[in-house]
Every structure is written in structure tokens, then in C-alpha cells.
């Protein structure tokens, strides 16, 4: 690449957006990071040491990671087959799956969390269904339990697992599978040796998306599990909005930021190594 090309004036078109984001978003994040390691004008890691040496903090970090992992697993288990079905579907089935993915994306998170409040109550649909199937002897509520939170969150985030996997799967040449079959590979062998490896970049992207969103969700835990259960995100929100404890809020915010950045950067690197476009 020559120097003349690098200085192509067309790049100036990109400048307003880049400058805008740098000033309104980049600088504030750096300021937050800077402030979180400054105590009374002196650089100090004391807030982090203090936070990480409190057992309560580890409960909160544990809650955050546990819920995010469970939501990601549920999304993967139901999202992968859905992406697979979508990549093979046509006509009505295809339209139905697409509507089911896209329509909820355009419905607000408060609306969905509110609906799950109704579904997961003691007299809600799930409870009635489980009683009807004879699996539960008496009505039980899933609302305000971890299971309820995982169900509601997985519902909101599963499209973000399906779409990246689908976008990789639809590029896979179906003849690859046929070729493997011609060469005598069994269906399971074919799946694990052909389709699955080729869809790995999509899986990694989906996992990164869902994990980072599930680790940082705020509205859904508020409505589905209540304030006795804290994650890094809910604790951050509460520190700023109700407790007016900005020191604690900044610390938890930075811990959450480090966690999500680690997952996003790690998965981007992994996805690149697996040979996919992120």
C-alpha cells in the first residue's frame, strides 16, 4: 500500500462519525476508566481491592457469570437447531421462523419482560401447563427465581444467537455434505466433521453477543427476579440511581466492562482464527 493511497481524501468522509464517537463515547469511557483508578487525585487500586475482597462482591460476580452462562447455553441449545432449520427451510416454514425472529426484535424489552411476569406467575401459563402435563403436583411460580430469569432472558437474546449462526450456515455449500456422504461418511460423522466446524465462527459470534448482553442486562432482572438478587449490572444501576454511591457504581461498572470486553475481544480473535468474518 502506497503513501498516496493512505492519504486518499475520501477518508475524510469517515471523519465526522469517527470524531463524533471518539468525543461522545470514547473519551467518556476513558474518563470512567481513569476515574475508577484515581482516589482523591492519586492513582490507586484501592477501590478494586476493596471491592474484590468483599465476599458479597463475589456473590454478585458469581450471579452475573452464572446467569450469563446459563442464558448463553439455553440460547445455543435452542438457537443452533433453529438456525439449521432456517437454513434448510423454504416457503411458509421459512417465513414463520423469520417472523418469529425479527418481530420480537422490534418489540421493547420492557414489554417482553412484563409478559414473562404474567407467564411465570403461580397461576401463569407455565404453571398450568406443567400441572396439566402432570409434572407438577401444585402450582408453582417461576417468577422471582433464577430459572425464571434465565427463561425470560433467553427469550430476549435467542435471536442474537440464531442470526450469526444462520448467516454462516447459509453460506455452507450443501454439496459438501453430499460429497462426504458419497465418500461413505455417516450422518453424525458428517455433521461433526463438516457442518459443525464450518458453523463455528457463527457460534462463537453468537455466544459473545448473548453472553455480553446477558451479563449486562438491567431491565430483565429488575422485572423477573427482583432486587434481592444482584448482578454487576443491576448493582451498578442501583448504585448510581438509588443508592447514590458513585464510587461503588464506578467500580462495578469497570469490572463489568472488563468482563464483557474480555469476552468480546477473545471471541473476535477466536472467530478470526476459525476463519470466519466477524
Amino acid at each position: 500500500m502506497t503513501a498516496a493511497r493512505r492519504l486518499d481524501p475520501v477518508i475524510l468522509l469517515a471523519l465526522p462519525a469517527v470524531l463524533y464517537l471518539a468525543i461522545v463515547y470514547g473519551v467518556p469511557l476513558l474518563v470512567l476508566l481513569g476515574r475508577s483508578i484515581m482516589v482523591g487525585g492519586v492513582p490507586s487500586l484501592a477501590p478494586f481491592v476493596g471491592f474484590l475482597s468483599d465476599p458479597f462482591s463475589w456473590t454478585v460476580i458469581g450471579n452475573t457469570v452464572r446467569i450469563a452462562v446459563m442464558v448463553t447455553l439455553v440460547c445455543l441449545v435452542i438457537g443452533y437447531p433453529t438456525a439449521l432449520a432456517l437454513s434448510r427451510a423454504s416457503g411458509l416454514a421459512q417465513a414463520l421462523i423469520l417472523v418469529a425472529i425479527i418481530l420480537p426484535l422490534s418489540v421493547g424489552v420492557v414489554v417482553k419482560a412484563f409478559a414473562w411476569q404474567i407467564v411465570l406467575r403461580r397461576d401463569g401459563v407455565v404453571s398450568q401447563l406443567m400441572m396439566g402435563l402432570g409434572l407438577w403436583n401444585e402450582p408453582q411460580r417461576l417468577l422471582f427465581t433464577e430459572a425464571g430469569l434465565v427463561i425470560g432472558a433467553a427469550n430476549v437474546f435467542v435471536p442474537f444467537m440464531i442470526l450469526p449462526i444462520y448467516s454462516v450456515l447459509k453460506l455452507v455449500d450443501p454439496r459438501l455434505g453430499e460429497a462426504a456422504a458419497t465418500l461413505g461418511a455417516s450422518p453424525l460423522y458428517r455433521f461433526f466433521k463438516v457442518a459443525l466446524p464450518l458453523s463455528l465462527p457463527g457460534i462463537v459470534t453468537g455466544i459473545a453477543f448473548v453472553f455480553s448482553m446477558a451479563a449486562s442486562m438491567y431491565v430483565i432482572p429488575n422485572l423477573l427476579i427482583g432486587d434481592r438478587f444482584q448482578t454487576l449490572a443491576t448493582l451498578t444501576g442501583r448504585s448510581f440511581l438509588f443508592m447514590r454511591n458513585e464510587q461503588l457504581g464506578s467500580t462495578t461498572a469497570v469490572v463489568l466492562l472488563v468482563l464483557t470486553v474480555a469476552v468480546v475481544v477473545g471471541s473476535a480473535a477466536l472467530s478470526k482464527r476459525l476463519g470466519g468474518a466477524s
Binding site: V18, L105, V110, A233
Partner: protein
């Protein structure tokens, strides 16, 4: 088809069907509750009524908030479309070495926790002496909407063959007309879908907006969450059902203009 293949296929389609039902459950529940007559969300409702839609029509606190949210979303989407499209063209045409890194930076607000972004902005805006709620909200919402535009338009442009513009010019079209006839139609679907998702993302944003709204200026998700927490009656289901209807309408328009499959290519 072998037995294993048949079983695998049944498992895949069963799980896919389950996911479709699972995804649509909250929407169906909301619509059903909104048409119920009971004030305590019993499903199925004892009888059907429109009373919550009437209550919604009389509501004095919801409609100004809806109007404010729509204005905010429309304005930030327009700004994001202008900034983001120029940026995508600039990055792709310049062969700039670090352009992938820049795109990652521009898209990163989608992946970082909204609350953290909100707190960082709040502190910096305050330090800079910016206290105007409306200006802060617009500045923040452009950050939320810009990634959708950059990501989608950039992806669409990287598939576009720019020599087509040169070809059109060789055939006698002046440059602006060549762009209008060749580039604009090729870019329109990405422009429309990204604008739509940017608009909806702004309408739905809670974690960043919460730091900038006050008692007088609120956005819809904030007002709705407050409503759900304080006085949960099916009025909230009625407005939600209207929003679902709006989303379905947008989806139908999107399908006509772009096609559902291309919308899923995001």
C-alpha cells in the same frame, strides 16, 4: 434416509418449532391480556373488552412520552444515517489500513454494557457543563443508532462493485446521476433496514437513557418500566399491543421493500 438422519431431522425441527413458539409467547400473551376485562391479568381472561384501550386513550402521561420518544428516535436515526453512510463510503473507498479496527470501534457500543456507557457519558457531560436533557439524549442516542447503520451499510458497500459507477459514467452519465442510478438503488435496502433497526433500538433504549431523563423529560421504556413497577394494570399491555402492531406493520413494509430474508442478513 437412515434412522439416525430421520431422528436428527425430527429433533432439529421440534426444537425449531419450540423456539418459534417460545419467541412469540410474550407477544401473544401481551395482546391477549390487553383485550381482557380483568384488572389482574388472568389468562385466559374471563371476558374480552376494550377497556384498557379506552384507558390508554384517556391517559395524559403516556402520549407526550410516546411523542418525545418518536422524535428522539427519528432525529437520532437521521443523524446516524447521514454520519454512518458517509463513514462507510469513506472507509471502503480509501483502502485505509486500519479500517477494520475503526469499524470495530464504531460498532462496539452494541456490545458493551449500556449502563456503563450511560454512566461514562453522564459523568463526562456533567464535567463539560452540559445539563440540557434533550441535547444529552440526542447525543447519546446517536451513539446507540450509529453502529446499526455503519455495520449494515458497510457490509452492503463491501459487496458493491464501485467500477459500476465508472461504467455508468463511461456510458455518458454525469457523476451525480451515475451515483443516483447505480449506487443509491444498490444501497437502499441496507439503508432502510439499518434505519429501521436504529429507530427501534433508540425507541427501546433503557440503560443509557435512564441517566439523562428527568421528571419532565422521559422516554417510553422508562415511563413503561415505572408504570409496570408502580401500577401494573393492563393499560401497559394495551400500549404494548399497539407497539407490537406497529412493529408488525414495519415488518410488512420491510418485507415488501427489502424482503424478510435480507432483513435477517443483519
Amino acid at each position: 434416509m437412515t434412522a439416525i438422519e430421520r431422528i436428527a431431522s425430527v429433533v432439529v425441527w421440534t426444537l425449531a418449532a419450540f423456539t418459534v413458539v417460545f419467541l412469540l409467547t410474550p407477544l401473544v400473551v401481551t395482546v391477549m391480556v390487553s383485550f381482557g376485562s380483568s384488572a389482574v391479568f388472568t389468562l385466559p381472561a374471563p371476558s374480552w373488552s376494550l377497556r384498557w384501550y379506552q384507558a390508554l386513550g384517556r391517559s395524559r402521561e403516556l402520549w407526550p412520552v410516546v411523542a418525545a420518544s418518536v422524535q428522539l428516535a427519528a432525529l437520532s436515526t437521521v443523524v446516524a444515517l447521514a454520519l454512518g453512510t458517509l463513514c462507510a463510503i469513506g472507509l471502503l473507498r480509501s483502502q485505509f489500513r486500519a479500517r477494520d479496527a475503526i469499524v470495530t470501534f464504531l460498532v462496539s457500543p452494541l456490545m458493551l454494557p449500556g449502563l456503563v456507557i450511560g454512566i461514562a457519558m453522564l459523568e463526562t457531560f456533567r464535567a463539560a457543563g452540559l445539563r440540557d436533557v434533550w441535547v444529552s439524549l440526542i447525543l447519546a442516542h446517536v451513539v446507540i443508532t450509529l453502529p446499526y447503520v455503519v455495520r449494515t451499510v458497510y457490509a452492503a458497500l463491501s459487496l458493491f462493485d464501485f467500477t459500476l459507477i465508472d461504467a455508468a459514467r463511461t456510458l455518458g452519465l454525469p457523476y451525480p446521476k451515475a451515483v443516483m442510478k447505480v449506487l443509491v438503488p444498490a444501497l437502499a435496502p441496507a439503508f432502510l433496514t439499518s434505519g429501521m433497526f436504529a429507530f427501534l433500538a433508540s425507541m427501546d433504549n433503557y440503560p443509557i437513557s435512564i441517566f439523562f431523563t428527568d421528571a419532565w423529560t422521559k422516554t417510553l421504556p422508562i415511563q413503561m418500566l415505572q408504570y409496570v413497577e408502580e401500577s401494573p394494570d393492563p393499560t401497559i399491555a394495551a400500549i404494548s399491543a399497539l407497539l407490537i402492531l406497529l412493529a408488525a406493520g414495519v415488518l410488512i413494509i420491510g418485507d415488501r421493500l427489502v424482503g424478510l430474508r435480507r432483513m435477517a442478513d443483519l
